[in-house]
Symmetry: C3
Subunit: 139 residues, 3 copies
């Protein structure tokens, strides 16, 4: 049994940019030396989140519409009134989606479905470079 | 320390069918040989999700209403326009809820609350058979 | 490799009270004897949830507004009609946010971002004492 902690850097355009991180995560897992165990992917940020989706432009657009409707960036936010950085909606969205994604690894491979990709959604209101933590605990 | 990966199959009716999977998950955990550690339950699909709820018909109906309101299946979805399979809302809902559920195991038992059950929600627009991954990492 | 399971008790005022639990979680992790591995924080309850946020009053207020809008406590809930306890909205909100939070630990420290705190949101309609499970699997 062992623990391997790695990181990947992801460049985003912000504004609900959705980036498919399946390939870099799978590569890090495959090269970690851990064959079976749990992979945790974590974004150490309060304006981005992780989940899965079928990564095709229709789904991405439909998901972004949900965020625009229930957490509309054009409204008043108390965060913006206090700090003036204009990303109050980004914080709310990130809290809703969550900063962690967990997936079992079997034979060095993520147990994702065929049409299921891991995505980073960057809700911040500007482009960012994100350093994600990937940690494997297993054997 | 060891890793045990198992699976359970769940039949659903789709259309936001909510299935209580606590018993089969607890049984798999109890029989795994792992006494203490972390259990990850994962749905390798882009149209279903995992969370917890008090499993009584009122709560299930209230949760389904939320999805019908914020991700209404009767609207236009870009996914449907591209692929014609009519389950655009299913993808958005699944991304929102998430494909993973993680829970500590102590003395071969899930540390769930008394009124807290693990549920699979199948958002797809037809009945499905779902193979869930259950993985224990512990001792 | 080892497994350490601990608990912390958190007093809340209910009604979407948001409590910053970063310090007690970090302390439990630091004192656990596990240097590197995965930390799972779990609320064994069906009316509270865990996520992260920048813990400042503006963000907290903005997040609470989202819940008030999409899961309005003033509406009819089937759960309330059946059980009369008035916390139907609490159950729906808790299912949406989720009962688990997972974060990698490196050198005895949580890999959180600078402006990212771990929060317990108590959605119940009264004050509660919550016993959270903190479990480390690592070395």
């Amino acid at each position: 049994m062992t623990v391997k902690t790695m990181s990947i850097q992801v460049s985003t355009r912000g504004n609900a940019d959705i980036v498919d991180i399946t390939d870099p995560v799978a590569k890090a897992v495959f090269e970690s030396g851990v064959s079976d165990g749990v992979a945790t992917i974590f974004t150490p940020s309060s304006t981005s989140g992780l989940t899965t989706i079928e990564f095709e432009s229709g789904c991405l657009s439909d998901l972004r519409r949900l965020f625009d409707e229930i957490v509309d960036p054009e409204r008043h936010y108390s965060h913006n009134a206090r700090w003036g950085d204009g990303n109050g909606h980004s914080h709310v969205r990130a809290s809703l989606i969550g900063a962690s994604f967990t997936v079992p690894v079997v034979n060095k491979r993520l147990t994702l479905g065929t049409w299921q990709q891991i995505i980073l959604i960057d809700f911040d209101n500007r482009s960012r470079k994100r350093d994600l933590v990937i940690q494997l605990v297993g054997e």
